[in-house]
């Protein structure tokens, strides 16, 4: 019988483009220290560790053998995994699965990325795509999102100015989040005149490279209630693969987000997403993608999200509080990002997000992870059971 589970502590590093002062293991230890402090626990209380990062981008394999000793966690049970952009989501989902068995008291979920150490990681095979087939093309996340953005503009009738509106909103939120990396004070003009990377994507539209780590502790119900008086209940989670290369998608602008979200909504009685969910932390690797993701999670009709930005309806204290932390375009330690989304969503539910807290009671929050060719991980959080 599955146990109900809750997040009892969260922690993240202050995300920067370079962290030359720490090794990867030391950076992870920083996030874990903060998480343990938040939960008022010690490493002795943790009996299972699930961890992962996008290994190829950092340049090594099986980093758990290096990091576990530096966490003082030798001898504890656990798993290590990687899954490109959804790594953090897969780490969290696995941590949830393990906690739900009730066999462990406290599961630590840790994800990180040290992108100041990557060099030419995407020079081979286009970064995670089928090596033989697409390796001859210089593909990367930038070009994948350029492809999506072109198709979105073509089908929705929006313009580059709408992409700039999205980016400015993300920046305004990031300015209120001390942990975010890019806090730039952007204007529409700055975004629209920025360097063109792969038409129609500009440099500011894309997520940055980041060195950062994030962690959370998940406990089964009985233990969670003893540890904290503000547990964040994990209502549901789902990991979803995409069928293969981008060209196979029915609609070249979308990913599996619509399919996965609808499945989660159906089995949790959510019929009106913008009303039933009060906080959204969705993994959007590029500003144009945010438009499509807003539609895919069911906030509005397909190909109309750009109108919401025109009407200034998206923001921390607006009708649609989408990515109040500044999102992935402000901070993207690839493997860790889904856990950063989870940490931010949990802070929103607890009311602890500080300057970027969404006003009002947050009963339900949704965090997602995105990766590769459109895989998604959905994580649904609740304030009360």
């Amino acid at each position: 019988m599955a146990e109900r589970i809750a997040i009892v502590g969260v922690g993240q590093t202050h995300h920067k483009s370079k962290r030359l002062d720490v090794t990867t293991a030391e950076m992870c230890a920083e996030a874990v220290e903060r998480c343990l402090e938040d939960a008022q626990m010690t490493m002795k209380d943790i009996d299972n560790i699930v961890m992962g990062s996008f290994e190829v981008a950092d340049g090594y394999y099986s980093p758990d053998k290096w990091i576990i000793p530096e966490l003082g966690a030798v001898g504890k049970s656990g798993l290590e995994m990687q899954n490109v952009g959804t790594t953090g989501g897969v780490v969290a989902a696995t941590g949830f699965n393990i906690a739900a068995t009730g066999l462990f008291d406290a599961v630590l979920c840790l994800a990180w990325q040290k992108m100041d150490e990557a060099a030419g990681a995407f020079g081979r095979g286009g970064g995670g795509t089928n090596e033989y087939w697409t390796g001859q093309f210089p593909m990367s996340p930038i070009t994948n999102f350029a492809r999506r953005a072109y198709a979105y503009m073509d089908r929705s009738g929006c313009t580059e100015e709408h992409f700039a509106m999205v980016r400015v909103k993300q920046d305004q939120c990031a300015m209120k989040n001390e942990y975010a990396q890019l806090r730039l004070g952007l204007t529409l003009e700055k975004v629209m005149n920025d360097a063109l990377l792969a038409w129609p994507i500009r440099r500011l539209h894309m997520c940055p490279t980041t060195a950062g780590a994030a962690a959370c502790i998940v406990c089964p119900e009985g233990k969670a209630k003893k540890v904290t008086n503000k547990p964040v209940w994990v209502e549901d989670w789902y990991t979803c693969h995409q069928g293969g290369s981008l060209t196979m998608a029915e609609d070249p602008t979308s990913s599996t987000l619509a399919y996965a979200s609808n499945l989660v909504y159906k089995r949790n009685g959510i019929t009106n997403p913008p009303k039933d969910i009060q906080a959204w932390e969705v993994y959007e690797p590029a500003s144009p993608a945010e438009l499509r993701w807003i539609e895919e999670v069911g906030i509005c009709e397909d190909y109309t999200a750009w109108k919401l930005f025109e009407q200034n309806k998206v923001g921390i204290d607006k009708e649609i509080p989408f990515n109040p932390s500044g999102g992935v375009t402000a901070t993207n330690p690839i493997g860790a990002t889904p856990v950063v989304r989870l940490v931010e969503a949990a802070l929103q539910v607890r009311g602890d997000a500080g300057e970027h807290q969404i006003p009002g009671t947050i009963n339900r929050a949704m965090a997602t992870g995105y990766g590769g060719q459109g895989e998604n991980v959905i994580m649904l959080l609740r304030k009360t059971l």
Binding site: F122, G135, Q136, P138, S140, R147, A198, T247, M248
Partner: protein, 158 residues
């Protein structure tokens, strides 16, 4: 291993340059590679919904049934989406950074399968979703059974 050091750095860093050759077996996709060498584009067809897929696969990713039927996709297709790279990117064949003049496009072929390719038209504003394109192949002796044996997709009149 070389240390990055001009004046004394505050934090020491090391580089590990490596060059590794990988040998990939194409297996079931070999027929596809052989088809490309002969100037033909083949795809496997799913027996459940009739959808053709490139790259070809032994098993349909959605329906988990064996795909044993191969279908020639023709020489023409329609534009699905496009992008053009404005910054230097690695050429994964040579390991060199280079600039790229031609947009990369996704094409839906006559047989229903979709594939990536290079576009002959270098001005992205002249590209429209749904425009008709025709494959322009490399000379036969240069084909290796790789995706870019189709040198470009050329826009043609309806």
């Amino acid at each position: 291993m070389t240390t990055e050091q001009k004046q004394d750095p505050e934090f020491i860093q090391f580089r590990y340059p490596r060059e590794v050759t990988y040998h990939h077996a194409l297996g079931y996709q070999s027929k596809f590679a052989n088809g490309l060498k002969q100037g033909r584009i083949l795809a496997t067809k799913c027996p459940v919904d009739g959808r053709c897929t490139i790259p070809p696969r032994i098993v349909c990713p959605m329906h988990h049934v064996r795909q044993t039927e191969w279908v020639d996709q023709g020489q023409r297709g329609r534009l699905i989406s496009a992008f053009k790279i404005n910054f230097p990117m690695f050429n994964s064949r040579t390991g060199e950074l280079q600039t790229w003049e031609n947009p990369i496009i996704a094409v839906e072929l006559e047989g229903g399968a979709r594939m990536d390719g290079w576009c002959m038209e270098t001005d992205p504003s002249k590209l429209k979703t749904g425009m008709l394109l025709e494959a322009v192949w490399r000379p036969e002796e240069e084909r290796q059974g790789r995706a870019d044996d189709i040198m470009y997709w050329k826009p043609i009149e309806e």
